[in-house]
Each structure stands twice: as C-alpha cells, then as structure tokens.
C-alpha cells in the first residue's frame, strides 16, 4: 500500500517539493538582500523582537523603501500562502481524483482494508506536507521574520495573523488543510468541488484555530494563576504562546477531520443510516445502476 500511495502522490510530491524549495530560496535570498539594504541604511535589526521594542513606530515601516520593503512583502506573501498551497496540492487530489476516476473501486476490492487505504495515503500526504512547509517556515522564522515584522502596512499586519511568525502554526496549517482537503475529497469525490470547499473553509478554519487557541490560552492562564512562578511562564498570551495554542487548536481540528474521514470510509453500521462513502459516486451510480 505504501508503494501505491507514494506512486499516486508522486507528481503532487514533486510539485509540492518544488514549491517548497523555490519558496525557501526566495525567503533566504530575499532576507539576505534585505539585510544588505538594512545595513547600508544603518538600521539595526539584530534579533527577532515581537514587541518591536526600540525598532520603529507602529504602522510605520522602518525598512528602507524600495527593494527591501518589496522583498519583505513578497516574503510575507510566501509565508502566508505557501502552507495553504502545499496543503491543497497534496490534499485535494488525494482521494477526490481516485473517486473521480473510479480507481477507488479497484483498490478497495483488493485485499486491503479501507481504513488502511485511507490512513496510508493520508499519512504520507500529511508527512510530506509537514516537511515541505517546515522547510519554508524554518527559513522564514530564522532568516526573515525579523524583517517582515517591521513592514507595517495594515494589510500585511492582517496577513501576519495568517502565519503568526510561527513554524508550528505554519506547519499545522498545511497538515490541517491536507487532511481537510483529503476528507472533503473522500466525501465529495470531485476535484474541483474539493478545491473550492477547502479554499472556502480555510479562513473559517483559521478563525476557529484562533478562537481555539485563545480559549486554550485562557484555560492555561486560569490553571496557572494560583502559582506566581508558573503564571510567569505559561498563560502569558505572548505572540509565541498564542501561535503555539493556535497550532494546537489546528492539531485538534486535524484529528477531528481524520476521525470524520474514518467514519466516511468505514461507517459504523449501527449508528448511521447516512453513507457518505456512497455520496461521491451517487450520480454516477444513478446513471448506470
């Protein structure tokens, strides 16, 4: 099953890996160029400083105008959308294409349990997605985040909420989108519909993640408030901690999504008269029963 899963994923893995490599290169090369411009302008941006202490005024970019600012904006766009794109590339065709081409009827009638088919494919896609995004996220966080932080356009400030300058959040975003697109593909069975549903679900998922992360943060705050030493370390609701909690919320969403996928593939016969596994082939079946 591993061989088949990897063979079917191969073209998408190549595209995702290429996108990851190109994005990483853009982030690294862009950061280097920005640093040169920053140094030439006499601006000191030594460390990543989420609170912007001593850097520049709020809503005023203190990167040199022109190339440095433009590159920083490109890097922000990369950090914002590459996790989504990698998730879509790997997740959308994962099951939707098989159902669309009816090859699921072949593989599901071999001696392989349905759940193994689903989990093997999903596992490889999630792993590949996580690795591809991690490369971009690590490069971004270590080399570029200190510069993109001081690009102070309102629109880019909104985009910052979508990547949160966090490796964990970016990786979990890809993992969640891959799982979501895969499960939607299982249920819907059409590539284009899967793509549309997943893209539309993306902002909603980010909002849910932020709300979930906030609730987790508040819970930790309440749980640690009795101890001064613990409350100094946890429940501080700093940018890093919030991003971590948001990533955790996305992890929970991913688990729920995979569990829904398991029910679609192998529904409990006692509990559900609805058979989502049949839905994708519904109109095809209705045509040629």
């Amino acid at each position: 099953m591993n061989w088949l899963a990897l063979r079917l994923l191969r073209p998408y893995l190549i595209v995702a890996a290429t996108l990851s490599a190109v994005s990483t290169a853009i982030v690294l090369a862009g950061s280097r160029t920005i640093r040169e411009h920053v140094v030439a302008s006499g601006i000191v941006v030594e460390d990543y400083a989420p609170d912007r202490t001593g850097l520049c005024e709020e809503l005023v970019s203190c990167l040199p105008a022109g190339t440095a600012t433009n590159l920083a904006q490109v890097i922000i766009l990369v950090a914002t959308f590459v996790p989504l794109l990698i998730g879509l590339i790997l997740g959308v065709p994962l099951f939707a294409r098989e159902r669309e081409e009816s090859t699921d009827a072949f593989v599901l009638t071999q001696s392989v349990p349905r759940l193994r088919w689903m989990s093997t494919k999903l596992l490889w896609a999630l792993t590949a997605g996580a690795i591809c995004t991690a490369a971009v996220a690590v490069a971004f966080r270590l080399a570029a985040a200190r510069y993109t932080l001081i690009v102070n356009d309102a629109a880019y400030a909104v985009l910052r909420e979508l990547h949160q300058n966090s490796i964990g959040f970016m990786v979990m975003q890809t993992v969640f989108i891959t799982a979501l697109a895969g499960v939607v593909g299982l249920a819907v069975g059409r590539t284009l519909r899967t793509l549309l549903v997943t893209v539309l679900a993306w902002p909603a998922a980010l909002i849910v993640a932020q709300i979930g992360g906030l609730l987790l943060g508040l819970m930790v705050y309440l749980l640690t408030s009795w101890s001064p030493s613990l409350s100094m370390r946890f429940g501080t609701l700093t940018e890093g901690e919030t991003a971590t909690f948001d990533a955790l919320a996305l992890a929970v969403c991913t688990i729920v999504t995979v569990l829904i996928g398991r029910r679609i593939v192998a529904p409990d016969p006692a509990s559900s008269p609805l058979q989502p596994a049949d839905l994708s082939i519904e109109h095809r079946q209705a045509r040629d029963v």
């Binding site: 081409e101 090859t103 029963v289």
Partner: protein
C-alpha cells in the same frame, strides 16, 4: 475456498439501496450456490451494478445484507472476492507490469505465475501504460488481476461488453477454466443474453431494482413454455408471465412444468434463455404463482 458447498457463495437478503429518492435495489433476495456461474441480467438501470458493488463491499445497503461465504460483505470478505467493475477502472499511469506487481503487493494470495501466464495469453504489452491500452485489453488486465488474486467468487460487471468476438471467446474460456479447475463461483452481469448464454448455469433477472426470476437455467427453461396463437386463445391461458400481441396473434410466456401440449390450436415450444429473460424483463410486475393446466 469452495470447501463448504452448503454455504451459498453469495447470499443476498432483502437488499434495498436508494440514490436520493430513487430505488436502485428494492428488497432483492437470492442466493448464488458455490461453484455456480450466475448471470445477472437486466436492462440498463435495473440495479445490476449496484448489486455487484454492494456484494463487493463498495456500497452499504440501506437495508438488507449481502453475505459472501457466510460473512457480511466488507473488509473481511475482500480476499475472497475478485471484482471487475464497468470500464475496468485501473490506474492509467501504471504500466501493465507495474499493475501486475501491484496486484501482488495488495493481495496475499496472489498467484504471480498464473497472472503472467494469463497476460502472455492475452498478449498484453507489459511496458505499456494502462491508460494507453484499448478497452478490451484493459478489461482483460482487470480480469487477470481478479483471477490471480485466487478469489472464491468473481463479481464481473458487464465484463464482455468492451471485447471483440475473439477476445470474448478467449475470456469466456479463461473464466470457464478457472471455474473447472478451482470451483470458483462467478456472478456476471449483462444486458445482452447472448453474451452469457453459453457461460451460465444460473440466472437472476433484475428489473427496476427487483428480482423477477432467480433459478437454475435448465430448470427455468423446462419450467416455462411459449405459446403462439390467436390472441383470444393465448390470453385465456393461466400463469402468464408476459404476453405480446401482433395483430390478431399473440405470443405468451407461461409457467409450466408439464410436457409440451399438443392441442388447443396453439403452437407450443420451450423458450430459449433469451426468450425467457426477455419475457420476465418485459413483464410489468411479478405475478403470484398459480397452477397451470396446459392440456
């Protein structure tokens, strides 16, 4: 595989499946004995594909169940089922050789030597991607995958439709050889009776999602008669399955286990399988069984 001959290979009990409001299957019940070659015959949309997909575990019925060698159709029965769907869906990007290798990877009882022998017999090009194969070759490859899995029951959804006459004969021969050698049970669907007439020993006629007839072919043929004659004489007969009129004459398919009658101004003969099946397919609805007098 076929050791326990008392357990039906396929037991369909009260099977109902709907797509939206439309009934694809409506309370279907029949059994397929182990080792039998059963033709599932019906018009387009009769529910043949749905029934086979349900038996293969690809669909879950709304009500009822399919048992394969006594076990509910699903993951547990997969190693005992060989399924070939309509249009024989296979991975188009894999070559024939890779597809055969894949069969080995996905099936623990895979018979590689048998698969290669069948592929050689079919003159399949090993290095060609499946997507470039003609429909007939693709169907034969799908059948090879199903056979080399060494299943107890083969579920074939219109397997002969895309084949040329020579390939049909070869594929029928391959199927029959497997049945003879291993006692494999075969359920194959078709809407062309001529395709399966020489293959099957049992027949199930499906119409509008319901089973109209399920019987051993020989018994079904000896249990029916065709009467041809004046419309008023024909329509007075009992136990008519279906009657067709053409001008003042009529032809009726009737149930009868007796000998060929010789009187009554009607012409009588035993139906062919095609006449029998067409009669049941054209019949508006199942009629209650009554005793018939043919003298």
């Amino acid at each position: 595989m076929s050791a326990d001959r008392t357990t039906p290979a396929v037991d369909v009990a009260g099977l109902t499946h709907r797509f939206g409001r439309r009934y694809a299957l409506d309370g279907c019940s029949f059994t397929v004995p182990a080792g039998a070659v059963t033709a599932l015959v019906g018009r387009n949309g009769a529910g043949k594909s749905t029934l086979l997909r349900t038996a293969a575990g690809l669909l879950r019925p709304d009500t009822g169940a399919v048992r394969v060698f006594g076990e509910p159709a699903g993951d547990a029965t997969l190693p005992r089922i060989g399924y070939v769907g309509q249009q024989a869906p296979l991975y188009p990007m894999l070559t024939v050789a890779q597809t055969l290798t894949l069969g080995g990877r996905l099936n623990p009882r895979w018979d590689a030597a048998y698969a290669h022998r069948l592929a050689d017999d079919a003159e399949l090009p090993y290095t060609a991607p499946v997507g470039t194969l003609a429909a007939g070759h693709r169907t034969r490859l799908a059948l090879i995958l199903a056979l080399a899995k060494r299943p107890g029951v083969l579920l074939l959804d219109e397997p002969l439709a895309p084949l040329d006459p020579v390939a049909r004969a070869e594929m029928s021969g391959t199927l029959m050889a497997d049945v003879a050698d291993r006692g494999t049970t075969v359920v194959l669907s078709s809407h062309v009776v001529a395709d399966i007439e020489s293959l099957c020993d049992h027949v199930v006629v499906l119409a509008e999602g319901r089973v109209r007839l399920t019987a051993e072919v020989e018994r079904a043929l000896t249990g029916h008669l065709i009467a041809v004659g004046a419309t008023e004489d024909v329509t007075e007969l009992d136990d008519i399955v279906e009657v067709r009129t053409a001008g003042r004459d009529a032809t009726a398919l009737i149930r009868s286990t007796g000998p060929l009658p010789s009187a009554g101004g009607l012409s009588w003969h035993r139906p062919t399988l095609e006449e029998l099946v067409l009669g049941y397919l054209r019949a508006p609805r199942p009629r209650p069984k009554r005793k018939v007098t043919t003298t």
